[in-house]
């Protein structure tokens, strides 16, 4: 009996919370396509999320930052790789990213920065003023970035009711409350 009770308690404690995919479409009005919108859950009550050990990466190839928009969990370190045969620089004019400036470095080298706060950081290259990218540091690991058709998918979101925000480099941000229960769809529309 005692053994059976222990097994039951252990099963209850270790069973995963029910979770599902939050998915849907963001319609971006007034821009060429619906890519580059960041969809994220702003908070999960009672939970904090430690900074991941794995680094994210932004490449500079053919005078373009890739990806153009990178959402990360707060605390993530992003590695900036130069894949071009010319010098590149990365800096941010945003205070939430401490207005960092990583200097210039040649092909094949990497410089890194840790995004310690919630932040939308524009990334620029002083050597090539047309280059631009964004790191969006968000407080939960539940985020996604849309594809050209506007579709997104955030896996493994615990069931519950959350505020879901949408941010875009050129369009006005929006948010709404979404109740996730298993696979849940949420649609958004953003414009200037």
């Amino acid at each position: 009996m005692k053994r059976a009770l222990c097994i039951a308690l252990f099963t209850l404690m270790t069973a995963p919370l029910s979770a599902g995919d939050l998915h849907g479409k963001v319609a971006c009005k007034g821009v060429r396509d619906s890519s580059d919108a960041v969809v994220y859950v702003t908070a999960v009550a009672g939970k904090t999320f430690p900074a991941p050990k794995e680094h994210e990466k932004i490449d500079q190839a053919n005078l373009v930052f890739s990806p153009h928009v990178l959402p990360v969990l707060v605390g993530t370190t992003v590695d900036f790789l130069n894949s071009d045969a010319v010098l590149h620089n990365v800096f941010s004019p945003d205070a939430c990213a401490e207005k960092f400036n990583l200097g210039t470095w040649p092909k094949g080298q990497i410089r890194s920065y840790q995004f310690k706060k919630e932040c939308v950081a524009a990334l620029l290259c002083k050597v090539h003023p047309e280059m631009e990218a964004f790191v969006v540091a968000v407080p939960t690991p539940y985020f996604a970035v849309t594809k050209a058709d506007g579709n997104y998918r955030i896996p493994d979101v615990p069931d519950g009711t959350y505020t879901v925000k949408v941010w875009h480099p050129k369009l006005r941000a929006t948010q709404k409350s979404v109740t996730v229960s298993g696979a849940t769809a949420a649609e958004f529309e953003i414009a200037k």
């Binding site: 821009v31 060429r32 004019p93 524009a122 003023p129 280059m131």
Partner: protein
């Protein structure tokens, strides 16, 4: 032959000469925008170069579409700086962009001119001339980021005698809404067709001939102006000016412009610029009732799908003033004795109206001009006397869209010249235009001096833009 008759014959000859030789007009269709937006010429033109209400708004918006969005621009521009650099100014250069392709366009015009006039002896002289080509215009037009636009036109014109002329007809940069509410404050700097003439300068007319009685009347003469300008004469209003201009649209329907320009001086009818220490000033205010807003606003307005149609009335007042002190014109009295003349104060006041009623657009201008003319000794430049002269000019034009490929226009012009011994100039201009394609048009245009039935031209014109 008495003096008055000789003068009258001279004036008639001048008029006809002006009709024949001065008929090369700048073309205003700019296919560079067709390429940029991947859209037809007819998005903006009723029949090029005449603009429809949307095209007028596009022009006044500094060559941006009303409430333009990125997806409308099919030719992706070349970035000269990421948008985030705006926050770093003046540490870094303010970001901008360039047109995706080289923003050039070409207009070519070929014409057969059949003309009749009377010579000094009263005999009819007839010419029938293939002017293939008559002129070619190279345009450059586009935007440089959100706040700048540009427009240039280089014209090569082949004269009937086989010679040719070239001219930079337009070269300007526009500053679009640098501050304040959108559309309210804009600037243009360069050689330009002032917005003072919005809607009736030759580059916005569907006809081949411009409104000569407004733009090529020569107010300089021993007894005041007698007719249209020849070489090295003054003009009533400069069709193009070297100017700095501010303009804008308030509350969607109120249009204004004010400008400062180099003064009028000798040099022929197409762009006469003096070089004294003075500047000319001009201003215009319009209000539009009904139809599309002057900035393209359509709030609360039901517009038909045929984009050349609307029901609206636009009325405006305009003025131009300047001082031609020290700008000398060569003149002669009735006996041929040479003198110099300066137009020491010229004022022009006018009213403009344009009425759209479906397929019909009737518009016109009435202008009153005054000139303070100083007569000077030809050699010593001592002032002999000073006289005040005035003249009145007006025109009314009706354009009608029979069907989009077939359009007609009739214009009547009347000019009471300053010299009281010269009868008023009255002309009729009738045009049938056929859009063979959106960018190719054929025209048959008849222009007649209503005082003398043997003074006329019949022009057959083929124009295309690419």
């Amino acid at each position: 032959m008495n003096t008055s008759i000789r003068r009258l014959q001279g004036v008639l000859l001048c008029l006809v000469t002006g009709l024949i030789l001065g008929d090369a007009k700048p073309a205003g269709a700019v296919p560079a925008f067709s390429r940029k937006y991947q859209t037809s010429c007819q998005t903006c033109h009723t029949i090029f170069p005449k603009l429809n209400p949307f095209g007028q708004a596009f022009r006044l918006n500094g060559y941006h579409m009303p409430k333009e969005t990125e997806e409308q621009i099919k030719q992706k521009p070349v970035s000269l700086g990421a948008e985030a650099y705006e926050r770093m100014w003046p540490e870094m250069v303010w970001p901008s962009d360039l047109p995706g392709n080289v923003p050039f366009a070409l207009n070519t015009k070929m014409a057969n001119i059949y003309s009749s006039s009377l010579d000094d002896t009263g005999h009819q002289v007839v010419h029938n001339d293939f002017q293939f080509p008559q002129e070619a215009n190279l345009f450059a037009a586009g935007t440089l980021g959100k706040n700048f636009g540009f427009f240039g036109e280089f014209t090569w014109e082949e004269r009937p005698d086989g010679g040719s002329d070239t001219e930079i007809e337009h070269a300007r940069i526009d500053v679009i809404s640098p501050f304040g509410p959108e559309h309210l404050v804009n600037f243009r700097i360069g050689k330009l067709a002032p917005n003072l003439y919005d809607g009736f300068q030759e580059m916005w007319l569907m006809t081949d001939n411009g409104v000569d009685t407004l733009f090529t009347y020569n107010p300089i003469g021993f007894h005041g102006g007698t007719g249209l300008a020849e070489e090295d004469a003054g003009v009533s209003l400069p069709s193009r000016a070297r100017a700095i201009e501010m303009y804008g649209v308030a509350a969607h329907r109120l249009f204004y412009t004010i400008g400062v320009a180099s003064p009028i001086g000798p040099g022929g009818p197409n762009g006469t610029f003096g070089s004294n220490s003075q500047k000319d000033f001009y201003a215009r205010v319009d209000y539009k009732i009904g139809g599309m807003g002057l900035d393209g606003d359509t709030t609360g307005v039901q517009l038909p799908p045929e984009n050349w149609r609307e029901k609206s009335l636009r009325i405006g007042v305009l003025g131009y003033t300047g001082n031609g002190k020290d700008v000398n014109f060569d003149i002669a009295d009735d006996e041929g004795t040479p003198f110099k003349m300066q137009d020491r104060r010229y004022n022009r006041y006018g009213v403009f109206a344009s009425w759209y009623f479906g397929d019909l657009n009737v518009f016109g201008v009435a202008l009153h001009g005054t000139d303070k003319l100083a007569l000077l000794d030809d050699e010593t430049l001592e002032q002999i006397n000073e006289t005040r002269r005035s003249y009145d000019a007006w025109f009314a034009q009706a354009d009608y869209v029979i069907r989009p490929p077939f359009q007609v226009s009739v214009r009547y012009e009347n000019l009471r010249v300053a010299d009281p011994t010269i009868p008023s100039i009255r002309t009729l201009n009738a045009n049938l235009s056929v859009l063979i394609r959106a960018n190719i048009k054929a025209m048959l245009e008849y222009h007649r001096d209503l005082r003398q039935s043997q003074n006329y031209t019949l022009a057959t014109v083929l124009r295309f833009a690419l």
